[in-house]
């Protein structure tokens, strides 16, 4: 495993291009595009203000930089560096901006969610979509980029509009049976739309592309409900994480619950492997003073003997958004594994085997888990917990890697390269790449080395 040098970064704006060739990052008002292989700066663009949002177009040709404070969006082209585009939302303000899947339209949400403006880079045409709903996840494009589902709110009722992305024509418009819709998400096959209600009520609704309600699911009443939702890449399962600390798996045939995964703080199943992160004991007092900051906090994983009780957090009951329930959910790209985090057991990542529908592995970190992400190609999970380490898990085992460098590089977030060959680690104001060697690439690397010498 190799690490690149550390580059500057603001507000964790660092993204790989969808084709995996480039890496865009923002340092205040500067947008830097690097080549992933050599990390050489390919282009340097200067925006009008500090960038708050960065997004690649789907064809990796354009980069969108949004400056919400000034209501501005600037678009840069990688092919033609002199080309530029500036969208000013004026007094309407701007709270969100995103690409349409064709990479030629930009959807800007104005302040107070008054409307969504669809700007085209191809024509002068501008479309407006009124009544967008201000919610957790109100916009969802289908995986094939053909349809846009948009949550709307009119006359105190929730609606979902489905647009055809090619010409922004309204295809379907239907009201949903929700109190206060919180989010929508397309199934990866683009035929089913999952809609969930606000956390005050446990309700998951499933709609067909043509607006028919396929099913409604409610696990319990009178308690805080859905916290997170994730589709499996095969569209076969819908995992619903809720405030009661359970994940419920719905199947795609009857849309009934297949199983529920509880997250108990005590694990007693002997089949479950519990990896516990442990501080590596310092080798000797003599060796330490030479490089204390760097070597001090190395850690490793130990396999804990099975009746294990995990560290739990007592949530403050009188505060809003209590730290309970399953807040993070992610399926592995092959749909074989599901990784979850229960927010009142913040140090643990639970990996569930979706073939056997049971708990497979629990990783207990020393610090609270910030985020995790699956390798897009392999069942390999990268985890960060705000420390100077990055953790990788695969069915073969797990490893804790210290990010080298002077000072403390606190990994707050991470994102995978499309091929899974590298991993961008983001701290508060820096980022670096971590290159993972695979067997077939090791030879290539040696070849390259040979060519250089």
């Amino acid at each position: 495993m190799n690490f690149s040098e550390v580059f500057k970064l603001t507000s964790q704006l660092c993204k790989f291009s969808p084709d995996g060739k480039y890496l865009a990052s923002c340092a205040q008002y500067r947008l830097v595009v690097r080549e992933v292989r050599s990390l050489q700066v390919l282009q340097l663009f200067t925006c009008l203000d500090q960038v708050q949002h960065l997004e690649w177009s789907a064809d990796s040709l354009f980069i969108l930089c949004a400056m919400y404070k000034r209501g501005l969006v600037q678009v840069w082209s990688l092919e033609q560096p002199e080309w530029h585009c500036r969208i000013d939302e004026g007094s309407a303000g701007l709270v969100a901006s995103c690409w349409s899947p064709d990479g030629r339209h930009i959807l800007n949400t104005t302040e107070f969610h008054l409307r969504i403006t669809v700007w085209s880079l191809c024509t002068k045409s501008v479309s407006y979509i009124k009544y967008p709903k201000a919610c957790q996840q109100g916009i969802s494009f289908s995986r094939d980029g053909r349809y846009l589902a948009l949550a709307e709110r009119r006359d105190c009722k929730d609606y979902v509009s489905i647009f055809v992305c090619s010409d922004w024509q309204l295809l379907r418009h239907f009201d949903t049976d929700t109190q206060d819709l919180a989010g929508i998400e397309w199934a990866p096959n683009g035929c089913v739309l999952a809609v969930w209600d606000t956390c005050l009520e446990y309700k998951v609704l499933l709609y067909s592309l043509d607006g028919r309600q396929l099913a409604a699911y409610c696990a319990y009443e009178w308690s805080l409900g859905v916290k997170s939702v994730a589709w499996s890449p095969s569209s076969q399962f819908l995992a619903v994480g809720s405030y009661d600390g359970k994940v419920r798996i719905l199947n795609h045939v009857t849309w009934k619950m297949l199983t529920e995964f509880a997250h108990p703080a005590a694990i007693s199943d002997p089949r479950v492997v519990v990896y516990k992160e442990a501080e590596k004991s310092p080798r000797g007092a003599l060796g330490r003073p030479a490089c204390p900051s760097f070597r001090a906090a190395e850690s490793k994983y130990e396999i804990a003997a099975v009746p294990v009780s995990l560290q739990t957090l007592k949530p403050a009951a009188d505060r809003a958004n209590p730290k309970i329930g399953v807040g993070l959910l992610a399926f592995s790209p092959d749909s074989y594994f599901l990784a979850t985090r229960n927010d009142n057991v913040p140090n643990a990542v639970w990996v569930w085997d979706m073939q056997k529908l049971r708990l497979f592995v629990v990783l207990e970190q020393l610090g609270p888990v910030r985020s995790f992400q699956w390798d897009p190609q392999r069942p390999r999970l990268a985890i960060c917990s705000g420390g100077s380490k990055v953790y990788l898990w695969s069915p073969a085992g797990c490893v804790s890697v210290q990010v080298p460098g002077e000072g403390d590089f606190q990994v707050l977030s991470l994102c995978w390269h499309v091929t899974g060959a590298s991993l961008a680690l983001l701290s508060k104001d820096h980022f670096c790449l971590c290159f993972l060697e695979t067997e077939d690439e090791a030879d290539g690397a040696i070849g390259q080395l040979g060519a250089h010498t």
Binding site: A58, D59, V75, S77, E82, W83, H84, C85, R86, I87, D88, E89, G90, S91, A92, D102, G103, R104, F112, L114, R115, W119, S120, L121, C122, T123, K124, S125, V126, R146, R153, D155, C156, V164, S166, D167, Q169, L171, Q179, D180, N189, G190, C191, S208, L209, D210, W222, I446, G447, L449, G450, T453
Partner: protein, 615 residues
């Protein structure tokens, strides 16, 4: 003793009193007063017996005493002390015999009484101890009773308390339930309230939004604009289409197409799954039938109860087998038939297995003796066979192991090579370079071959020309000779022959014998060059560029030498050949040091050259 009697046997004393009273009252005996006095004085009897008896009868009152005694005795049923009087008036005579008998009788009675008294006393003792025991028992039991009564009271108290508590708890539960109900109602009402409020707020919010929208959007805000250098083409290269009904219809079509595709895909999957399940079912059924049909005959013969199902199944089987093709149709009746038949088969199988279980258990109960006797011979044969087989297997295993070992040895050598290759990245580099060189060498070799061919051709041509020249000369000489003399004809002929022979031999020497002569020369010349190169490369850093240089030198040298047609020219060619060897030797070298591989290869080539050169 006397004390005992007076204290513990009041009945007896009272009896004696009675007796005394009775006697005194009824008889008014002369000594009765006295007797009473005596009795009243309560002097112990035993002590005063003698005095008492002496006091009873004195000299004066013998007659009276006797009569008194007689009376007394007769009242007790003794015979009279007096002889039977013949006449009335006669004085009755004291019958001594009777007196003695009476005395004896009295004494016996006395003894008996004493004995009885003793018995009674012991019994009394026993009874007393019994009584004591019983009394203690009674006391204990009473205590127990008391404690248990107390306990019971305690328990009752506790029970009462618990019941009280229970009642309280029930009350609490009820209260709680009420509370929950109330809270739920409150929640519900709050929820409705909240929703209501929310709705109201939202409406206000919407109004505000609308207003804001009007204010912000309808006013011509010049800032809301997009500046773009030039419009870019669409990703798909098409032009944007107008929104028309047609496009709407097309979108609809597309949507339904997508949905249909999805459903078709799912249907296909389900069909496939179904087909597989059917296959499994069919297979199961077939296997069941095949499993059950040969054994069916036995149960029919054995037990009558299973014949019914067995026979019916036998009758059904062929029909269903022929119907299997229908299973591909997933119509309901077929499904039912299938499931029914499977179920039936399953039941039969189950009963069969149960029967087998029973048999097994029976066999276990009965013991194995009968079967053992029957199959002993078979057993022995079987064991012999098995032993033979084991031996064969052992032999097989041995040979296999040997083969495996050989294989492993081979593999390890191979593995070493590959691992060394993998381990040492420099080797790969080297390999690459050597490959290049090898190809270079090959090319040069080709060139040399060409040159050699041209050279040989030239040599042949030269030979021919020489021959022609020789012939010409011969003819010229002949002519001259003929011109000069006519006798010397034969001699000149000889000379010509000889010269021709010698010329041909020369040529032979050139072509045929040149090689053996060349070789030693080349060796003596070539190997020192190589070694010198080696010594040059050894102290310096072992880089292949050095090697390349030397190589290029050699090749240059060879190209020059081609012109000179020296025998040296073949050397580099050979070196090239050796290089190929060298390459292979590197590849097969198990553990090579980082920088030394080129040296090693060099040494190896040298040795090769020398070896080649020596013979």
């Amino acid at each position: 003793m006397g004390d005992w009697m007076t204290v513990t046997d009041p009945g007896l004393s009272s009896e004696s009193k009675n007796i005394s009273q009775y006697t005194s009252e009824t008889k008014m005996s002369p000594s009765s007063l006295y007797l009473q006095k005596v009795l009243c004085s309560s002097i112990p009897l035993s002590k005063n017996v003698h005095s008492f008896f002496s006091a009873f009868c004195t000299e004066e009152n013998i007659e009276q005493s006797i009569s008194y005694l007689d009376q007394e005795l007769t009242t007790f049923g003794f015979p009279s002390l007096y002889e039977e009087s013949k006449g009335k008036e006669t004085k009755r005579e004291l019958n001594i015999v009777a007196v003695l008998n009476c005395m004896n009788e009295l004494l016996i009675r006395q003894r008996k009484n004493l004995l009885a008294q003793e018995n009674v006393e012991t019994q009394n003792l026993k009874l007393g101890s019994d009584m004591d025991h019983l009394q203690s028992c009674y006391a204990k039991l009473k205590e127990q009773l008391e404690t248990s009564r107390r306990e019971m009271i305690g328990l009752q108290e506790r029970d009462r308390q618990l019941q009280c508590k229970n009642r309280n708890l029930h009350q609490l539960l009820k209260n709680e339930k009420d509370e929950v109900q109330k809270l739920q109602n409150i929640i519900a009402s709050r929820a409705t309230q909240y929703n209501h409020d929310m709705k109201r707020k939202e409406r206000e919010y919407n109004k505000l939004k609308e207003r804001l929208h009007q204010l912000v959007m309808n006013k011509k805000d010049k800032r809301i604009a997009m500046e773009v250098l030039n419009y870019v083409g669409r990703a798909d290269g098409k032009r944007g289409s107008w929104r028309t009904d047609k496009s709407e219809a097309r979108n609809e079509d597309e949507m339904y197409k997508i949905l249909l595709n999805d459903y078709e895909y799912r249907q296909k999957q389900i069909l496939m799954e179904n087909a597989e399940l059917k296959k499994v079912l069919q297979q199961m059924k077939k296997e069941m039938i095949s499993l059950l049909s040969p054994q069916k005959q036995k149960p029919i013969e054995k037990a009558d109860d299973s014949t019914g199902t067995g026979i019916s199944d036998v009758e059904e089987d062929p029909g269903e087998l022929s119907r299997e093709s229908i299973w591909d149709l997933s119509c309901e009746t077929v499904r039912e038939q299938l499931t029914n038949s499977i179920r039936k088969q399953w039941r039969i199988l189950k009963s069969h297995v149960e029967k087998l279980d029973n048999q097994v258990s029976k066999v276990h109960l009965e013991g194995f003796n009968d079967e053992d006797v029957i199959s002993r011979q078979d057993h022995e044969e079987e064991t012999e066979k098995l032993e033979l087989e084991i031996q064969q297997c052992k032999e097989m295993i041995k040979t296999q192991q040997q083969l495996l070992q050989v294989n492993q040895q081979l593999a390890t050598t191979c593995d070493d090579d590959t691992t060394s290759l993998l381990q040492d990245c420099y080797l790969l580099e080297e390999k690459e370079r050597l490959k290049e060189e090898w190809s270079l060498f090959k090319e040069q070799k080709k060139n040399f071959e060409k040159e050699r061919r041209s050279f040989t051709e030239a040599a042949i041509r030269l030979g021919l020309e020489r021959k022609a020249f020789e012939e010409e000369r011969a003819s010229w000489l002949k002519q001259q000779f003929l011109n000069m003399t006519t006798f010397d004809h034969q001699n000149s002929e000889n000379v010509r022959l000889f010269s021709a022979f010698s010329g041909s031999s020369d040529r032979d020497n050139l072509t045929v014998h040149s090689r053996p002569r060349q070789k030693p020369y080349r060796v003596s010349n070539g190997s020192p060059i190589c070694t010198s190169k080696l010594t040059k490369s050894l102290p310096a850093s072992p880089s292949t560029s050095d090697f390349c240089q030397t190589r290029s030198c050699v090749s240059e040298h060879s190209s020059i030498s081609v012109l000179n047609m020296t025998p040296e020219e073949t050397r580099p060619n050979q070196v090239g050949g050796e290089c190929a060897n060298q390459k292979w030797s590197v590849a097969s070298r198990p553990a090579s040091q980082d920088g030394c591989c080129s040296e090693c290869s060099w040494t190896s080539t040298n040795s090769h050259v020398e070896k080649d050169g020596l013979p």
